[in-house]
Symmetry: C2
Subunit: 246 residues, 2 copies
DNA sequence: CGTAAAATTGACGCTAATCAAGGTCCGTGG
DNA sequence: CCACGGACCTTGATTAGCGTCAATTTTACG
């Protein structure tokens, strides 16, 4: 992890424009908040924080992608989410006086702004809108997690994998001639850990999709060719194509 | 739902003593906050709010138990949690400007305090500690949901049911001579909806446990006789008893 | 070009979902 | 008081889905 440094103006503008934390704050206030934070870089494979550590810092991602990982008692990994620019890390936790419940790993080289939790609390005391913005970020994350909980308790593996892909595409997809490219490192194992299954099932499912022309690949990266078909699978409405199962 | 009314003093003391929302607030401030809320009763089977409704009210439960239910697109129910006295309802959501992501049903006659979301925001602006207490409640709920997400993606059904029971016992268990009584209405279907399975599996599992003397029942209510055994099952450490499976 | 990591594919067995049939408990009304 | 109906529970049979292991192939990269 590189030492902290000052942000330049372009970076400041970027973060205030795209992060909910700065919603409805005057440029003046934004400047104060940013001055109390520290600019930092995290190399690929390094961690922002580890599960179980005392949560004393919170972050907002400027560049790069971060993987949120939970480790079970038995040592299994569960990938809770991927985050990109504008997302907050440890916001909920640092403000709740509990240890980080998961680890945050940079899957690419990342830059971020970091605040000490007490500094942020002090800022929120002075600027209640900042606290409400924090609450709003948390609310969305909470609703999203609840939806995923619902998915994993009611959907079959194939649907869960489809949904995971669609979610990633919505977050990180880039349009290319053949369709939408998921321009990020993403192994079968990763997808398995996101969907509560194993890499063998994911591999089988994706092979099937590739043969059906729904997805393709460029090097190790996934290309979504027929998004609508994947939506049908995700919604369990693809019965027409396959053998009826009820 | 009965009309709103004033709280009496005993009720006021109860809520300020047991709810995190009032932590580190002076009695004076507590009084102000409570005066801005409304006392209310909800009959068994009635709802505090429904999934999808605009979230304009937040609650703290005084008495009774509440079931949080999510409905999937396909119409399946998922029980996210049970809450009892001292817990908050809609706190996250009402402060985040998003619709309720689930429904809250009173499984017993309940009393609660309700605040309008804008009133609460105003109070939080004046008393930042109130906002931080809200954040702390949310933080615990978030960590708990993440843990359950982890469970459901890595554990087998029997372990999940064991964990669900243990969680309910910790929340609502009452000591009786034979063990710990779960003094609440709880059908096989309810347990199935909590653990992402169906009532048949739950019934089979609980029949097995009852034959092994781990649990018992009084009318329709569950009694936990050998909690330690259930913990072993929940932690997947009961291999000694059964046939080895690896 | 060689090695290690990642992905594929087949075989096998178990878990858990599903369907069907019947039983138990309870309140209600004849 | 007893018979009936409905909600809830139990149990068996069956099967699809999924996890696991093993063997092999492909891909990335030094």
């Amino acid at each position: 992890m590189l030492p902290y440094a000052r942000m330049n103006l372009a970076q400041q503008e970027k973060i205030t424009a795209q992060c909910v934390l700065f919603k409805d704050l005057s440029p003046e206030v934004c400047r104060i908040v940013l001055q109390n934070g520290r600019f930092m870089s995290v190399n690929q494979g390094e961690y922002f924080f580890h599960q179980g550590e005392t949560a004393d810092t919170l972050y907002v991602i400027l560049n790069g992608r971060v993987k949120l990982i939970q480790l079970t008692d038995a040592g299994q990994q569960v990938i809770v989410n991927y985050f990109g620019a504008g997302a907050g890390l440890g916001i909920i936790v640092a403000l709740s006086n509990i240890p980080y419940p998961l680890s945050a790993e940079a899957v690419e080289a990342c830059t971020a702004v970091a605040w000490n939790k007490d500094t942020m609390k002090q800022l929120m005391r002075q600027q209640p809108q900042l606290a409400f913005n924090g609450l709003e970020m948390i609310g969305h994350r909470f609703a999203q997690l609840q939806k995923r909980f619902q998915d994993i308790s009611t959907q079959r593996v194939e649907q869960r994998v489809a949904r995971a892909l669609l979610r990633l595409v919505r977050q990180f997809g880039k349009r290319i001639p053949q369709g939408v490219l998921l321009d990020m490192p993403l192994s079968r194992e990763d997808l398995a850990q996101m969907t509560g299954t194993n890499l063998y099932n994911v591999s089988r499912i994706m092979s099937k999709w590739e043969q059906a022309g729904i997805i393709g690949h460029d090097h190790r990266k996934v290309i979504l060719c027929k998004a609508h078909e994947l939506v049908l699978i995700a919604e369990d409405l693809d019965i027409l194509d396959r053998s009826p199962k009820k």
